[in-house]
């Protein structure tokens, strides 16, 4: 197998006395979709933000295409090809929907006209073209999720980090979201998606990684994971804790 796109090596992250990530390692291949799941407080978000560059690890190393990116700020990681969405949706509310996406597409196109052209295409890809000139602040929250995805896609990432993009969607919207992620996957972009609900990621991903209490407790196909006693215990524990 060729060199992995992303190599995360032994990440530790402490918050005071709490160890949110405890020796977490993960490889992602080119074009692979990895689902990152786990009960509340498992350290998913911490791990996600460390890969995105929003949080610095206490210890550990992150390689992207063989290059050490551990010290890079999110903007520079994005230049290399790592894009992300946010758990709590973030849009540039005073700008129109299309302009939101242009912000992303300008990364690869210095000329605003070509950037706008590309943004239009991405907009169609996420099926938001009817809202092109609407201020982003006026979108509904599922629309904002799609806008966020479009913005991230417009930076032409090689790796896309999706943080609970399906959270809060109605079943119909979630189906639409799943179809969208499938289309993204067809374009060859590797994806790491964090989801709290296991059912959503299962049909989408090549591989599931389960975090609990800051450690990876299981990794494998959807079928392997659902029968793994450790995972079952962790999720059972979660439902009791909750």
């Amino acid at each position: 197998m060729s060199e992995p796109l992303l190599q995360v090596r032994s990440i530790f992250r402490n918050f005071g006395a709490l160890r949110a990530n405890d020796d977490v390692s993960l490889d992602v291949q080119v074009g692979e979709i990895v689902g990152l799941i786990g009960p509340n407080g498992a350290g998913k978000s911490t791990f996600f933000n460390i890969i995105a560059g929003a949080l610095a690890p206490t210890r550990g190393q992150i390689l992207f295409e063989g290059r050490d990116v551990t010290a890079l700020v999110p903007a520079n990681r994005c230049r290399l090809g790592i894009a992300r969405t946010f758990q709590v949706v973030r849009s540039f509310d005073s700008m129109s929907v299309i302009d939101n996406i242009v912000v992303g597409s300008l990364l690869r196109n210095h000329d605003a006209r070509t950037a706008r052209h590309m943004a239009c295409e991405v907009l169609e890809f996420v099926e938001l073209e009817a809202r092109a000139d609407t201020p982003a602040g006026d979108l509904t929250s599922p629309e904002k999720r799609r806008l966020e995805l479009a913005r991230a896609l417009a930076t032409r990432p090689k790796l896309l980090l999706l943080d609970e993009v399906m959270a809060g969607l109605t079943p119909t919207e979630a189906l639409r979201g799943i179809a969208l992620v499938k289309r993204i996957r067809e374009t060859g972009v590797a994806i790491i998606m964090v989801e709290h609900v296991m059912e959503i990621v299962m049909p989408l991903v090549d591989r599931i990684v389960v975090l609990d209490l800051g450690k990876i407790i299981a990794s494998g196909s959807a079928a392997e994971i659902t029968t793994d006693p450790l995972v079952v215990a962790a999720y059972l524990g979660d439902s009791i804790r909750a």
Partner: protein, 343 residues
């Protein structure tokens, strides 16, 4: 990715881009028309007082457009732009008086100096977020005022009087008529507007607006937040200093309070806030409303000590902030917005 995008290449993009460029062309046509009408004003306005108000209005229009580049597009609210205004004014006058540098050169030198200072201050201040930044701008401008007030070399509190010379475009001195100043400041406001227009359509403009709305999200899209703020700050300071230089030449007398004072910072920021922060026409609309209104309240209700103009400014700014945070310019888009916004 590319393959899928290519497959979806459609008339939508072409149509949208055609519309967008048409919109930008219309803006150019509109400003050309305004400029043409404005250029004819001296033919009708012969009264010295009115012409004075018109010139000041255009000056604040240019200044506020410059302020808007940093405060509006990039979201860094400065209430200390008087420091750049003062540098432009003092720099130009001092270079002329002490070294005989013609104001055209002096103006560019001081503006470059102001831009440099903006970068130096920005290097430290842009680590401060939101309100902390605004406070820093106020305190630093006040410190500059205090220094100039007590610095004999700059004439201290007495200020500086430009030596009288013959009317000339070379020295930008006109004693007999104010009309040349009108054309100078009209050109300056056009230049400021054009800069804003170019920025709006360029990479920086998009990135700055993204930084203003959500810096972290902008960073996640590859935008360098710090450089964005620095760039916006330098351009903004440059125009502010040119405005200051103009003011010094126009009034031919400056003192610390009239160019470094907080009132200047305020009058630079308020038009943009009223008209619409981060919009192309906002500062112009704001200045055209605010400056004549302030002058009128001042002259009809009482001298500048009476405070009536402060009440007017304050009331306007509170009302707009509460009722129309997007600024008065949004009233023009009201129809379009309600049509497009509802799902």
């Amino acid at each position: 990715m590319d393959r899928a995008l290519q497959a979806s290449r459609s008339s939508f993009a072409e149509r949208h881009i055609a519309e967008a460029s048409a919109r930008r062309r219309r803006q150019l046509v509109a400003v050309a028309l305004f400029a043409l009408v404005a250029a004819c004003l001296p033919l009708f306005v012969t009264d010295v007082y009115t012409l004075n108000v018109v010139i000041l209005t255009l000056m604040y229009l240019a200044l506020s457009t410059g302020w808007n580049i940093l405060g509006g597009y990039c979201g860094q609210i400065s209430l200390g732009h008087a420091i750049y205004f003062g540098i432009g004014a003092y720099g130009t006058v001092l270079l002329y008086m002490m070294a005989g540098v013609v104001p055209w050169i002096g103006l560019l030198v001081s503006a470059a100096l102001a831009a440099g200072l903006a970068l130096a201050l920005g290097y430290f201040c842009f680590r401060l977020a939101g309100h902390y930044y605004t406070i820093a701008t106020i305190v630093i401008a006040e410190a500059a005022l205090l220094l100039v007030l007590n610095w004999d070399w700059t004439g201290a509190a007495l200020g500086l009087q430009l030596p009288f010379g013959p009317d000339s475009w070379a020295t930008l001195q006109f004693g007999r008529t104010k009309v040349p100043y009108f054309y100078f400041v009209l050109a300056l406001s056009l230049l400021a507007w054009l800069t804003a227009w170019i920025i709006e359509g360029a990479r920086w403009g998009y990135w700055w607006r993204a930084v203003k709305d959500d810096a972290e999200a902008a960073g996640s899209l590859g935008v360098n937040i710090f450089y964005s703020k620095m760039g916006a700050s330098a351009i903004s300071a440059f125009f502010t200093a040119v405005g200051g230089a103009f003011y010094a030449l126009f009034t031919s007398y400056i003192d610390p309070n009239s160019v470094f004072g907080f009132r200047i910072s305020l009058l630079i920021a308020l038009p943009a806030v009223l008209g619409g922060i981060g919009t192309l026409w906002g500062p112009a609309i704001g200045a055209v409303l605010l400056i004549p209104l302030g002058e009128v309240t001042r002259s009809y209700i009482g001298g500048s000590g009476s405070g009536a103009d402060l009440v007017t400014y304050g009331a306007l700014v509170v009302m707009v902030s509460l009722l129309r945070p997007e600024g008065l310019v949004s009233l023009l888009h009201l129809r379009k917005r309600t049509r497009g916004a509802r799902p």
